[in-house]
């Protein structure tokens, strides 16, 4: 009976899933970035961390003085910008996706527990959520990074620890309304334990919201990672990360070496924009409020 209860909601969810207005370009861009990140070792023409000072500040190929050897030019240490952008995609993808998942799992679990158990558990979790939301996310992340020191692993943990609150809020409010619905009440009558209800009946039904939120959070997290790296508390040099490249790009900014500033930022923007457009589309498709109609 329990299985049937959850299954009822499923067909309507799938029926509303039309691919007509699927955002092709954002999906292609995000897919492209993913592809580049995975196959960076084959795609990258040079070693991203190895440069030659003789070749520093070479402009891109289409500008006077550029060569096909370094298609997008070189930076202040003579490292190939294209290779660094390619490997930078890997950092953004790995940090971005992992941090979103860490925050998502933490926030979803706490949101379900808080919403379903209610009472003092709810009070405790929600007061902590409110407090963490009071701290500006980036300032909080900087503070944490200053304590634990910079590394890719730490950035993931920090971003997860900072951004779980958004999931917790959304998931909790969904659980609150779901608690009153028929299939949960039937499960209670059937003698399911609280944990079984949360795991088997509530969790599958809040996953959609968590996924939509996760897609929208991807952009936020990628910008946060870039900001931390830019400030020197994110990915440690000489690893290629887009935020770090922007920070290095300042060295050539005042003499007009535009490619060191414009290109990494363009990559960040494309990734964030695509994630946002994809998230918007997913939200329209999976939004529980629309689905309940």
């Amino acid at each position: 009976m329990n299985m049937r209860a959850t299954a009822i909601a499923l067909p309507s969810r799938i029926a509303g899933f039309r691919l007509g207005d699927f955002p092709i370009f954002p999906a292609l861009i995000l897919g492209g970035i993913l592809f580049v990140a995975i196959f960076a070792d084959w795609l990258s023409p040079h070693d991203p961390q190895l440069g030659s000072l003789r070749l520093r500040f070479r402009p891109p190929v289409f500008q006077a003085g550029g060569s096909w050897e370094h298609v997008l030019g070189t930076d202040h240490l003579g490292r190939d910008v294209l290779s660094r952008l390619i490997y930078g995609a890997r950092v953004s993808v790995v940090v971005g996706f992992t941090a979103v998942v860490v925050a998502g799992v933490l926030g979803t679990v706490l949101g379900i527990v808080s919403g379903y158990l209610g009472r003092w558990v709810d009070q405790v979790i929600m007061r902590i959520t409110d407090t963490w939301l009071a701290l500006p996310a980036l300032t909080f992340a900087i503070f944490l990074a200053a304590i634990v020191g910079p590394s890719e692993m730490n950035i993931v943990i920090i971003l997860g620890a900072v951004y779980w609150t958004r999931y917790a809020r959304v998931v909790r409010s969904e659980v609150l309304s779901m608690k009153e619905r028929e299939f949960v009440r039937l499960a209670i009558v059937a003698g399911c334990s609280k944990w079984t209800i949360m795991r088997r009946h509530i969790l599958p039904n809040v996953l959609n919201s968590a996924i939509v939120l996760g897609t929208l959070m991807l952009g936020v997290v990628v910008v946060a990672e870039a900001s931390l790296s830019f400030l020197g508390v994110g990915v440690p040099p000489p690893k290629p990360a887009w935020g770090l490249m922007l920070s290095d790009g300042k060295k050539g900014l005042m003499v007009g070496y535009w490619w060191l500033t414009v290109l990494p930022g363009l990559c960040i923007m494309l990734m964030v924009l695509s994630a946002n457009l994809l998230g918007d589309w997913l939200r329209d498709k999976l939004d529980p409020q629309l689905r309940q109609l």
Partner: protein, 306 residues
């Protein structure tokens, strides 16, 4: 009303308590606080002195008590890089942060409100679409990148604006724009949705039925009411701007609180970082409280609900 205020006040105090506890515990749980508070390369004696000073040999709750007592009396610790109390440094930078936030807010409202109204009045048209694109770009472009590209264009290529520092009105233009850009998009989105709400309401229909010209309906009846949520958000955002400007202030070497935070990180001046984070969080808790109370004063439904 009194019950509502008491309850909200209680929540705010609880939030401040949790905030200070979080910061206090994070520093102590994640490693040796003495090593964090000490100047890099401090000797063993200096470390011992700091341990004694922080009372690290005492039970945690006593440590927390003195931490809170210090905070409430305005003692936020001592910056070893500047060799000055953190609170003094904060107060010296605050006017710059306020100036930057005020100009950025003016930018964001000047761009956000008219474009939001245009998108709502011409909903579904090209204008609306353009507004959507603008909002998406605003939310997708990192503010520090906008800042860097503006420096490249207006300082390096055109030579119109100074690239860093503060002092003249020209200095504030680019950082304010870079900071305000994101908020302009947020204000535009809210103006649009709020305006759409109001335009569908009964009294706007009545105004139209009376035969008022559409421009007057929009300007006199709809606009004023649609503005309320936008102004509220703007008030909260002003405080948030002061606290999130760290990257923009770093790009433009603007001597505000964000820049102070960045200096704290670069010089491993931990007491400075801790003090700024604590003050920033407290500021936001207090503003949220004030907004809640103001809302209850204006709208009786809210205080009855509580």
């Amino acid at each position: 009303m009194r019950r509502f205020v008491t309850k909200r006040l209680g929540y705010a105090v609880l939030s401040l308590f949790l905030l200070s506890l979080t910061i206090f515990l994070l520093v102590r749980v994640t490693g040796d606080p003495a090593a964090l508070m000490a100047e890099p390369g401090a000797s063993a004696e200096q470390l011992a002195a700091i341990r004694k000073n922080l009372g690290l040999d005492q039970p945690l709750w006593i440590q927390y008590g003195s931490f809170m007592a210090n905070f409430l009396t305005g003692d936020l610790g001592h910056s070893f890089y500047y060799n000055a109390p953190v609170l003094d440094l904060y107060a010296a930078r605050l006017p710059y942060s306020l100036l930057l936030a005020a100009v950025a807010m003016a930018f964001s409202l000047l761009i956000g409100i008219p474009s939001g109204i245009l998108a709502a009045v011409r909903v579904g048209t090209m204008w609306d679409g353009a507004g959507k694109v603008f909002a998406l770009l605003g939310l997708s472009m990192p503010s520090f990148w906008i800042g860097l590209v503006m420096i490249l264009f207006f300082s390096v290529y055109l030579g119109w604006l100074p690239s860093s520092g503060a002092g003249t009105p020209l200095h504030v233009i680019m950082p304010a724009f870079a900071l305000g850009w994101y908020f302009a998009a947020a204000h535009m989105r809210l103006t649009r949705s709020s305006m759409l709400d109001v335009l569908g309401s009964e009294y706007v229909k009545l105004a139209r039925l009376k035969g008022l010209p559409e421009s007057l309906v929009v300007a006199k009846h709809a606009f004023k009411n649609a503005l309320i949520p936008v102004i509220t958000l703007a008030g909260i955002n002003l405080v948030i701007m002061i606290n999130v400007a760290v990257v923009v202030e770093t790009v433009f070497a603007w001597p505000g609180i964000g820049r102070l935070l960045y200096e704290g990180i670069s010089f491993r001046d931990f007491p400075l970082v801790q003090g700024i984070v604590l003050l920033g969080g407290s500021m936001i808790v207090v503003v949220n409280l004030l907004v809640d109370i103001l809302y209850a004063v204006v709208d009786p439904r809210i205080r009855l609900e509580a």
